[in-house]
């Protein structure tokens, strides 16, 4: 017996979206895109169920071949200060794992943001950074390319030079996830 209760509040308005390609982008049905600013997503990006993209305060731009996992929250959660009007910009080949909270000004190509980590508002991550599980990047902090944040806020630079392998792995992972996760793109299309 599924007697649907009608909530008294109207559903929140859909945020304006811009998708560069509608065939290769996967947004799971249970993902939530909310807010009023533009959310633009590029090709081959996978958005898992229960991922939150919040554009209430500023726009969100996500590059191609990104994987945004469940419970991750992308987007500013408070009023942007000066110089943050472009919102959160995520480059290509970025993996955001479960429960991470990303309010960064920009996330460079090939970054891996692991489980439950937090990237503060206005932070800038260089290319190929890796943020370990439950690690925190402070507000407005800038990380150079290849920085690894691990343990209790320790940092080191990893120049092992395996970026092409990582790209290959992410591309394969995207291919696999595209088969596994049923996308529901039409639900999220809202051109303005």
């Amino acid at each position: 017996m599924s007697s649907k209760r009608h909530s008294t509040a109207p559903p929140p308005p859909k945020p304006p979206t811009q998708f560069s390609s509608t065939s290769s982008l996967i947004i799971a049905d249970a993902a939530s895109l909310i807010g009023t600013h533009l959310i633009s997503l590029s090709s081959n990006t996978i958005i898992h169920p229960r991922t939150k993209l919040i554009s209430t305060y500023a726009p969100i731009t996500v590059g191609s071949n990104c994987i945004l996992s469940e419970r991750a929250t992308i987007g500013l959660q408070s009023e942007p200060s000066e110089g943050l009007s472009q919102g959160v910009v995520i480059a290509d080949y970025v993996v955001v794992e479960v429960g991470a909270r990303v309010e960064a000004k920009s996330v460079g190509e090939g970054c891996i943001i692991e489980v439950n980590s937090k990237i503060g508002k206005g932070a800038v991550l260089g290319k190929h950074c890796k943020i370990g599980p439950m690690c925190v990047v402070a507000e407005n902090e800038e990380l150079a390319d290849y920085t690894v944040v691990y343990g209790n806020g320790m940092q080191r630079v990893d120049r092992s030079g395996v970026e092409h392998l990582k790209f290959k792995m992410i591309a394969r992972q995207v291919d696999v996830l595209r088969k596994l996760i049923p996308g529901n793109l039409p639900k999220f299309i809202n051109r303005t």
Partner: protein, 191 residues
């Protein structure tokens, strides 16, 4: 709370599983519950992340593929997540099944990407269990631990810290506290 009073929070299955209506279970056909397992609200189980390495199933079996296998008397507290781990192997990317044995307690907010969790394992709150970790029997993982990927935790260990290390052993007398039957009975619609 405007919940309907007639329906309780938990759905009880024939095999005694108590599954919260507010849990978020994806890919139910690929999940095996051994029975008498409690799944609380806001638990995410990713049954959709299946093995894809070979398009032909092992030995040509026609049975359902398994992404998450759970034994008896397991308790998954509010907001934890079970996610089959994935890796590259021989040039292809695939997820691998997550197996959980009996009497496993998982604390609130913990994220489990292990390959195997043995019997009588207790995982505290807000832990992160890395990909392809193997946890043997009678292990206690304290709250807030980050267990690194690919490690094997031997039986009767106590693990804590970031990164998680074995910090102690479980004495023989302590084994009693791992039985979850009492806890299973205490969860339900009447309480």
């Amino acid at each position: 709370m405007s919940r309907k009073p007639a329906k309780g929070e938990y759905i009880e299955t024939d095999t005694g599983n108590k599954v919260s209506r507010r849990s978020q279970i994806i890919g139910t056909t690929n999940i095996i519950l051994g029975g008498k397992t409690v799944i609380q609200a806001e638990v995410i189980i990713r049954g959709d992340l299946l093995r894809t390495s070979s398009s032909v199933p092992d030995g040509g079996k026609q049975s359902n593929p398994v992404a998450v296998a759970i034994g008896r008397y397991c308790i998954f507290s509010r907001g934890c997540e079970l996610r089959p781990p994935g890796k590259m192997y021989k040039g292809t990317f695939s997820h691998y099944p997550l197996k959980i044995a009996d009497h496993v307690f998982i604390g609130p907010g913990s994220i489990i990407e292990a390959a195997l969790v043995g019997s009588h394992v207790s995982i505290g709150a807000n832990c992160v269990i890395g990909k392809f970790t193997i946890i043997k029997d009678y292990v206690r993982i304290l709250g807030g631990t980050v267990v690194p990927p690919n490690i094997v935790i031997p039986s009767f260990s106590v693990v804590a810290g970031r990164p998680g290390r074995v910090v102690g052993e479980i004495a023989e007398g302590e084994v009693e506290g791992f039985d979850l039957r009492e806890l299973y009975r205490s969860v339900g619609n009447n309480t």
